[in-house]
């Protein structure tokens, strides 16, 4: 939460007038919570086959001037608990020092902790591959958690639900034509360009979260989600969710869940969110949780409606409740053609002229869902770049992503989330760097100096899926909103390192930094 929000709420009562405040972009740069800002040292111990034996990580995390709402958790629980990644490393030790500075507060930013962990680990794995003389794909394969080991308990608290990391890697390698890379690199060389390819095999914990788990970590409320599915007498449906959509398309995805389950035409379903006076208490949208947690709550409310509908239909059709079956929007007496559709049931529920005692009028159900575990999307992203060694300019020539999000409710929307996440991650890797001078003045406080990714900074992407079935989630879904931002940064930096034959380059890999690295690499 922010000062401005509280002050506006307080001030409108104090002056007894409506008060509006809107940030301009410069204020947003100054006072919106920033993200990331770690310095870290990481080490991996290996046996002679390149098998990971243990990892040690030392991290300093900048929290800014004050603690923002989630500041403490991002570099701790959302970071260190993801350090196992896709690997069966048996021993992990992490130390995180969180510090205050005279800079804007730092808090959650797309991925929150998980991109930091993934960048560190997936860069380190490439360094390990180089040190062991192994192909980056090979060292990953040797260390992946095997498909038959799920659910898999990592040494850092998290217990992964499901995954088939080899499947995603193989599919991504094929999609990226990894085999053909050497030829493309040769061809690029003839044009004076350095071509590189980089892998990133990430896992993340989202679908935040099981209340029991976060309770143990010091959270004082649960992280369930709520839903209410209400039929109006004329048969259309209002779905109230405690989640909140700000671009994710809930009004569509959630309507799809309801149309699938209840058989009501999608145009007759309205999803309502974001108003404390309209919707029941809910936890909101972040940590890729809306579908994996909120969607399940909706499904459960729909189940309750079906149960209730059976009672009403049984009464109306003069049958035993046990004989009523529900399918495709119709309540029917099993083995007969006597049936009524769900809209008729709804009308009946609000016109209960002859209801027996015990049958409650109304057709409106609530449900809450508290998952047993996080959901653990994973995947392999492969980035191919061409570096112009004369200028240091990096062009992403090909980007392939294969993700496991479990079951997809709306593939179009999921793919859009992947695209957006990738570009957020590419932005971090190549363009975006927030800089303060030594006096604490923010010198990247506008789009004139803070480089946002534009359409011509990125190519179109090749996206595919290697789904597994998460056992804890009744819908079989995992979150997808943050995956790209988590997977992309190491894929891009690994590709640049590969192109130049260097150990590492820090983000953002600006043209000057890349040019300097290229100078060092060739000298």
């Amino acid at each position: 939460m922010y000062s401005e929000e509280l002050v506006v709420g307080w001030a409108c009562r104090k002056v007894n007038r409506p008060v509006k405040w809107t940030s301009d972009r410069t204020e947003a740069f100054l006072a919106d919570a920033h993200g990331r800002d770690h310095v870290a040292h990481a080490e991996m111990a290996m046996d002679k086959n390149g098998k990971f034996l243990a990892m040690r990580v030392n991290t300093t995390a900048n929290l800014g001037a004050y603690l923002s709402t989630f500041a403490t958790m991002v570099p701790s629980y959302l970071y260190a608990f993801l350090l196992a990644g896709q690997y069966s490393t048996p021993l992990i030790y992490s130390e995180v020092k969180a510090v205050f500075t005279n800079t804007a507060p730092v808090d959650a930013a797309r991925g929150a902790g998980r991109p930091e962990a993934t960048f560190l680990l997936e860069r380190l794995v490439d360094v390990c591959a180089e040190d062991m003389g192994l192909d980056p794909a090979e060292i990953r394969r040797r260390n992946f958690i095997p498909v038959d080991a799920f659910p898999y308990q990592t040494p850092v608290v998290q217990c992964y639900d499901s995954g088939d990391y080899n499947a995603a890697l193989d599919k991504a390698l094929a999609l990226a034509d990894y085999e053909g890379f050497a030829g493309r690199a040769e061809e690029a060389k003839s044009r004076g360009k350095c071509r590189g390819i980089g892998l990133s095999s990430y896992v993340e914990a989202c679908g935040i979260a099981p209340s029991a788990a976060v309770g143990q970590l010091g959270a004082g409320v649960g992280l369930w989600e709520s839903a209410q599915v209400r039929f109006n007498p004329t048969g259309n449906v209002q779905v109230f969710t405690g989640t909140h959509s700000h671009g994710q398309g809930h009004e569509t995805t959630f309507a799809q869940l309801v149309t699938e389950q209840l058989g009501v035409p999608i145009e007759n379903i309205e999803v309502i969110h974001g108003d404390t006076s309209k919707t029941q208490f809910g936890m909101g949208t972040y940590g890729s949780r809306s579908l994996a947690v909120g969607g399940v709550a909706i499904a459960k409310a729909c189940e309750k409606l079906i149960e209730k509908g059976k009672k009403i239909a049984a009464h109306a059709l003069e049958a035993a409740e046990g004989d009523i079956e529900f399918a495709d929007g119709n309540f029917a007496i099993a083995g007969t053609d006597k049936a009524m559709n769900i809209a008729e049931v709804a009308f009946n529920a609000y016109v209960p002229h002859s209801y027996p005692e015990g049958l409650e009028p109304g057709f409106d159900e609530n449900a809450f869902f508290d998952p047993m575990n996080f959901s653990f999307p994973a995947g392999t992203h492969i980035c191919e770049v061409e570096v112009d060694p004369d200028t240091g300019v990096v062009e992403i020539v090909k980007y392939s992503a294969v993700d496991d999000f479990g079951k997809l409710i709306n593939p179009m929307i999921v793919e859009g989330q992947v695209h957006g996440g990738i570009v957020h991650g590419v932005g971090q890797a190549l363009l975006e760097g927030c800089q303060y001078d030594s006096d604490g003045q923010l010198i990247t406080a506008s789009y004139m100096d803070y480089a946002m990714p534009r359409a011509d900074n990125v190519p179109s992407f090749d996206v595919d899926y290697a789904p597994t079935n998460p056992p804890h989630n009744p819908l079989g879904v995992k979150g997808c909103g943050e995956a790209g931002a988590i997977g992309a940064p190491p894929a891009v930096i690994n590709a640049i390192s590969n192109a130049l034959g260097i150990k590492h380059i820090d983000m953002p890999a600006t043209p000057e930094n890349v040019w300097r690295a290229a100078q060092t690499a060739t000298s």
Partner: protein, 264 residues
């Protein structure tokens, strides 16, 4: 923005009259730099005198070896002009890469060179092509027009009317963009005419300038390789979070080579 008084004038005489009467007046051409500055309250002119209504400041004409572009001609108009494309394609190309399409639809040639931002594109072309800046008072050679960071030879009540660009046998502009603002970190305009080479450099130093050392090397040996031996003095280069002086000096050479290659 602070308040000010806006006047749209329809003749140069009215414009001059208005600025002389104003306490602290400013001409606005396209306004693409001035309005954001005023919005941030970093400038507070008492009067804003809009030159957009003066028809004689607009338009493009080709006469023999000279392309004349009115000061209030927008970047988009220059980029799209078949006259400019035919006579000096590098100039059309330069105009078509200033800012973004919406900015190009309002930003003007006169506004750009009068502002003389150290990272603006047009000054490189004015210098590289050896253009002449025509005002309501006189004609100023490109070399003499740009006098320092954001400074020009213009007097307070002087209005640019047009820029006269001589055709070149071959010319090219190569720009290395700032990834955030898309201004030039370094932009180099190379023009070759009758064996004589001119090089206009922007972005690199406090003010656009002629690349004399580069010209020396390229006169008589108009090849990219000729640039290799040229030493670019680092101490004069701009340095900021986007590019150090050393990197800028390097880019001046790379962009020059690429411009020379594009000329052939």
């Amino acid at each position: 923005m602070y308040n000010f008084s806006y006047q749209k004038v329809s003749s140069i005489a009215d414009a001059v009259d208005a600025i002389q009467k104003a306490e602290d007046g400013k001409f606005v051409a396209g306004g693409q730099t001035m309005l954001p500055t005023m919005k941030h309250r970093l400038a507070s002119p008492s009067d804003v005198i809009d030159l957009g209504g003066i028809d004689e400041l607009k338009g493009i004409s080709v006469d023999g070896d000279t392309v004349t572009i009115g000061a209030m001609t927008t970047h988009a108009e220059v980029a799209a002009s078949s006259d400019v494309q035919g006579a000096i394609p590098a100039l059309a190309n330069l105009a078509g890469n200033i800012g973004d399409p919406a900015v190009r639809n309002r930003g003007t040639l006169g506004g750009s060179i009068a502002n003389n931002d150290p990272a603006a594109d047009y000054p490189a072309a004015v210098i590289g092509l050896g253009a002449t800046v025509k005002t309501n008072k006189r004609e100023i050679s490109g070399d003499e027009f740009f006098t320092g960071m954001f400074e020009t030879a213009l007097e307070d009540d002087e209005v640019i009317t047009a820029v006269l660009f001589p055709k070149a046998d071959a010319s090219a502009y190569m720009k290395f963009e700032n990834p955030a603002s898309r201004y030039a970190i370094v932009g180099v305009f190379v023009a070759s005419s009758g064996g004589a080479v001119k090089v206009g450099v922007t972005g690199a130093t406090a003010c656009a300038h002629r690349g004399m050392r580069l010209e020396e090397a390229l006169n008589g040996n108009f090849t990219a390789d000729a640039v290799d031996g040229v030493e670019i003095p680092i101490e004069k280069m701009n340095s900021d979070i986007h590019a150090s002086a050393e990197y800028r000096a390097h880019l001046v050479k790379v962009m020059t080579k690429r411009a020379v290659e594009a000329c052939s």
